[in-house]
């Protein structure tokens, strides 16, 4: 099978599993709505719209984290990882397929989150949406990679956020900058750079994460 | 000592203390290694006698 077909098959597997189980997506959606509610109470009366914009990004990052905690659970529980590794596909296809699935979940949740944010706080403008789209790519690429790394650890639920958050700080900076600052092109360009750089190194080094 | 001098001294002291702390940790580790080596020598001696 071709590389693209492998990736598509792997991504489709995850999306179908979620379609049937309906566990992760509702949880992520509920989480993001709860988070936005908490943020309302976390912002004193004199806070500006800008502070709320920043918190939107916090919500996105932590919702992604919630979804990522489940990313490789099924594979591990049923010993599927070894099977995937032994399969005659490029190991990086495992990463890419899973990352695309996570991207699907995150995008689906944002379809709910962004309108909710617009209603709770202030309208979401074009640069913000563009930033969210670009940031999603980086978050899913790095997040999937880190989730696979954490899956090998005894304390995987603890280690995943610790590994994920420092890596995702530049994404938050890019996203908030695009939402808040004047010249958003600069921040969108930076997000694109982040996505490109980290996608490449994730793709190149995933092999070493799943093999010995 | 002026305030500036106090802070500069503090900064250098921090570096000094951290390095000394490191030395302490290494010293403790060396003691432990020595003790382990002693135990292993005992084990080896018992092996060669028995």
């Amino acid at each position: 099978m071709t590389y693209a077909a492998d990736v598509a098959a792997l991504a489709r597997k995850d999306l179908l599993l979620e379609l049937r189980a309906r566990e992760t997506l509702p949880a992520m959606a509920l989480f993001v709505l709860s988070a936005l509610t908490v943020f309302h109470f976390a912002l004193p009366a004199t806070s500006s719209d800008l502070a709320a914009k920043g918190l939107l990004w916090v919500a996105i990052v932590f919702t992604a984290l919630v979804g990522l905690q489940r990313a490789f659970v099924v594979e591990r529980e049923h010993g599927v990882i070894d099977g995937l590794v032994l399969a005659p596909c490029d190991r990086s296809a495992i990463w890419l397929g899973k990352a695309l699935a996570v991207l699907g979940f995150l995008a689906a949740v944002e379809v709910i989150a962004l309108p909710a944010y617009s209603i709770f706080f202030s309208p979401v403008d074009g640069p913000t949406i563009a930033a969210v789209a670009l940031a999603d790519l980086g978050i899913c690429a790095v997040g999937t990679f880190v989730a696979a790394t954490a899956a090998s650890s005894r304390t995987r639920e603890l280690v995943l956020p610790l590994l994920f958050l420092p890596l995702v700080i530049p994404v938050v900076i890019g996203g908030v900058g695009a939402s808040v600052a004047g010249g958003s092109a600069r921040y969108l360009g930076f997000l694109a750079l982040y996505d490109a750089v980290f996608a490449i190194i994730c793709w190149a080094s995933f092999e070493y994460v799943v093999t010995e | 000592m002026s305030t500036a001098e106090k802070y500069v001294t503090a900064a250098y002291l921090v570096v000094f203390v951290v390095v000394l702390g490191y030395v302490l940790i290494i010293a403790a580790k060396m003691q432990r290694l020595e003790r382990e080596l002693g135990e292993l020598v005992e084990l080896a001696r018992r092996r060669s006698d028995g």
Binding site: S152, P166, Y208 | -
Partner: protein, 227 residues
Amino acid sequence: MSLRNNRLAAWAALALGLSAAALALIFFVAPNDADQGFSQRIFYFHVPIALTAYGCFFVGAWKAFRHLWKGDPTADLESYVAIHQGVIFGVLTLATGSIWAKISWGHWWLWSEKQLTLFLVLFLFYSAYFMLRFSVDDGPQRANLSAVYALFGVVLIPISFLAIRLAQNYIHPVVFTRHGPAFHGTILWTFCVSLAAMLALAATLYRIELTGKRLDSRLRELRELLA
């Protein structure tokens, strides 16, 4: 004494000599800065410590690369020790930078200090390295995961630096500026000697820790053979 012991002693002697020379230069020879006065002397330690920390992280990444690419058997341990050194010097960077900020501007922490913020991010990142390493059982997988993470670290350094620079535009206006010392004459020399001293110190501590860990693993091996 084997050759390895001699090398460690040589590095230690070099570190000692350079540190003594650096301290003498810093406190007796270098002139007071026109702008900041006496407090500028922290700079002679703070910046070399920061540069040494970067150096350690790069060495860690280089050893990690050698582990993954060449399968060098000692590279995993060397990478781990280098990153450990990097974190220690990173913490020292944060501590000395914080004290310098306190003297210069009266605040223990300044988000507008890009170097300091970058080191905070790196400290978080490399601390997670240890969390990861200690939560995976010893073996080839732990070595691989650690190596890949170390490589991600050096990619993160420039990206984070760029990001933090971008963030300055919307976080708050840059109110505090610090004029770097004019790099000439005594100041340049003092700085170079201090930098050399820090690097030698890092190299010495690195070798000491590496020797300690190698001893540890060989004793363990011996114990298994005898038991």
